[in-house]
Symmetry: C3
Subunit: 371 residues, 3 copies
């Protein structure tokens, strides 16, 4: 009988939620800025490497760049520059062992690799996750036309799924039922007439920021109506977030209202509310969960976090995502730490190989109807 | 010196909160429907056995039916049918090693074994937990007569404890103080005059569903006034629940108001808020806690969950319950996993035997004044 | 290479939040009353030693009093009386291995050792943490004069930090921005004119209890304006607390508003919300965190709790505190269990010695500008 880690390593992962990586070479400041969710540079005497994720980069990524495990940060960054971003990106994405990437390209797209570039770097097939708010914010529309214009815009996209960042904008305490046309029109009117600061990405030029509970619900229901799996940001993220408004339990009404649609709803990240997410995956027939982002962020603790998710979450409803953004290292770390966690969880467990295959790949194939 | 598990196995458990088991033989669909808290059947390609509780059934229950540990689910169900429900129920309940069962028979009583049947199957003594809302919903009464009629009905019951499911109906954010007669009358009037859907058990014929903060508080105070320990559903349950409204911390005001009564209040289940429950058990003099239901639901993770409960909960305030419902397997799993958890917790601990006895049995004898 | 525990033991700790210890000899009732956060005496048949902290006292403190590890509670208390409180206090504080104590003397000061006494007992340098609410409650002032009078009183104190117990009084869901002079005056007027019960410490003579969101914010901003690190009680405490209002995530707005000040904000205790606190330490540039009080309260589980804190918290933002109050044993337990936790966390980790030094001492030196 093979060891759990041996066959976990052998199963290619479907990474159902990830982003592009930076094309340019990164100096230390730029690398550290991408390493955690902090909103500001490290203070005097601080380094972002002094963290679980920093230790994990040195432990697991250094050997991919031909350095010894636990190489000092300075050596790591020097070697990274020596090889060049393109070679580093390729090595990390190849070493991740992924067969499919579902890419959300709606955040800071100008700086990051495209889907085609990710496909070339990784050797994986790539699908598109359309960020609902980003699509809405690109529209040139009117209050009366917004609903139809958005539906048309979504229909034109070749999407494998949609994603909402309502958690960042208004929190997850959303009513469940589909908003009426009149409610959507009134909300769109408020939005389009609003003035003052409100760029979609603070500090950048760009369209007006959508942040209205009715509109987020409308966008989510548009995904449901098209039969597109809906990814929802839950839990851990950057300081734009009010984390206590991002507990997935706040989605209970929306999950009740959408359960009969049969369209999958994917609760992303979830940390530190991942046990709550596991509960929702158990009691609702269409809920899938992951601990992406947290997996690399908590480094050596990833197996502990995954084990908590799996307390209640049915094995058929757990997915893998890296939520890698910016640094290709996160593709590798997510994959390595997830496989370590799975292997530890499944030690002494019946049907370990079958469960690894479900969680690593088969669940995502079923939920997203991947070929 | 004996190993902790050896004497944990030797102490008969008081299971202070449990339910009847199904008398009939169960096919795969019916068995799976009872295996988790999901509200709907498994989807295509899904099996409820692909979960922590499913693995636990195969690991721990299969040998009780003369199968090898980790027997496939199909073999398990076939053997279960071969032996017949009555024999399976007897084997599981006997193997649980319980001396006393406190049974809440107020949910779907027509399908489940009675207290007398549970006593015969288990060899344990049996006491009655009266479900407050169920008793109120059975009354033929008026707004003016409700308070007295309920008190009379409760007085007629030979109860060892009462239980409230306010968490399911209105959430646990209840005011603390005893409601006045006028408040109760007004609330009863609203309840009895309400129309529309509202059966006590959705999808079934039956009385009007009680869901009013004043009435739940009234029922709880009726238990306090009779000196009957009050069991409160907290945390994990089926999708009728808004889990974020079932955090036991929301009971803080009610616990302050009832502390001087000296009547024990038992916080049931609590997962994933079990650390919060442990805190309440430490700071309030009358609060007892368990992690029933979760113990079998999280399978191999039960020791980790129990260890978290025991971080702050005084050892004299922790109780055992299976919260078994429907499947006799849960009586066995609750007992086995709880004992494993206790034994792991108490490894290298002073007074391990004494603490096992407290938590397994003595605390419940004291709190419920059992003979 | 040295074992992590070996060098963790060798680094003197800065205990950045602690209190005095009782000077008098303690009988069993008085000792048990200080052992946990319970608000009332143990019930019949109960002992506070039957808890994680009770086991920890017997395990780790008994040898300091020349008893075998795990000595019975009665033997421990007898030996404690035999040696006398002063000798016990000296032994515990010396054995803790602390170089610096930052002492909050604002709660029940008459019964406890002074800063000078703590310095003599421990051999450590001592600094003062001014409890904001206590200082305000001592003022003889008017609504119009309150703001200036408070600022003057604070300026006269030789403080290394300030502390707010807003969590106990109104909860942590505070607006962020600095209140205006008019708001402070109106709030002070309400406070000073209020009647009815409201002593600052229930059951004691003393000044009127301050409990007003505007005033707590004002006090906190006074600390910020003086450049004094602000300690905030979060999470676990006695039953005066509504624990669900003490989640540090509720401080998000205040943390956003104070981030640009550069003045450190220290989130104290945090259990069971310590993962939330770790998140805040990661995303805000001025947030420091600890798990004081919990460290000794959860006994053998302290390493598990610390590991959860360190999932997201940058290693440069984690501090040590005992939150010892009343019993000198807590100085020892905090130190021993914290070091065990650090050593366990850092096993097989790169740069373990450097990280131990940061968390044990260097972070506090930097944040509090200690000599």
């Amino acid at each position: 009988m093979r060891e759990p880690l041996e066959f976990a390593d052998a199963v290619p992962l479907v990474d159902h939620h990830c982003h592009g990586v930076v094309r340019a070479d990164l100096d230390r400041d730029a690398f550290e800025a991408l390493l955690t969710e902090a909103g500001t540079p490290p203070g005097p005497g601080e380094s972002r490497f002094d963290s679980q994720v920093g230790l994990a980069v040195r432990r697991w990524c250094a050997p991919v760049l031909d350095l010894p495990a636990d190489a000092p940060a300075a050596d790591y960054l020097e070697r990274r520059r020596e090889l060049g971003a393109d070679e580093v990106n390729r090595r990390m994405l190849r070493a991740a062992g992924v067969s499919r990437l579902l890419v959300d390209g709606g955040f800071r797209p100008d700086e990051l690799t495209t889907e085609a570039e990710l496909a070339a770097l990784s050797g994986a097939e790539v699908g598109t996750v359309v960020r609902l708010e980003h699509l809405a914010e690109q529209l040139t529309t009117t209050a009366a036309g917004f609903a139809d214009d958005f539906r048309s815009a979504l229909a034109e996209r070749d999407a494998v799924a949609v994603k909402s960042i309502a958690a960042y904008r208004v929190g997850l305490d959303l009513a469940g039922e589909r908003p009426t046309d009149a409610e959507v029109r009134a909300a769109a009117d408020r939005w389009l007439r609003s003035t003052g600061p409100g760029r979609a990405e603070p500090g950048r030029a760009g369209p007006r920021r959508l942040a209205d509970p009715v509109l987020h619900r409308f966008l989510i229901w548009c995904g449901i109506d098209r039969g597109l799996p809906v990814q929802l940001h839950c839990g851990y993220g950057d300081p734009d977030l009010d984390l206590h408004r991002a507990d997935p339990l706040l989605l209970t009404n929306l999950l009740r209202a959408t359960a009969s649609s049969g369209v999958p709803v994917m609760l992303l990240h979830n940390y530190p509310f991942h046990r709550n997410a596991g509960y929702l995956a158990q009691v609702f027939p269409h809920v899938y969960v992951d601990v992406g982002l947290a997996t690399h962020a908590v480094g050596s603790r990833a197996p502990a976090v995954l084990a908590e998710l799996l307390e209640l979450a049915p094995f058929g409803r757990v997915l893998y995502s890296s939520d890698a953004f910016g640094l290709a290292e996160f593709y590798l770390l997510g994959a390595v730490l997830f496989r370590l966690g799975l292997a530890e969880f499944l030690r002494d467990t019946a049907d370990a190989e079958r469960i690894v295959t479900m969680i690593s790949s088969a669940n995502a194939h079923r939920a997203y109807r991947l070929a």
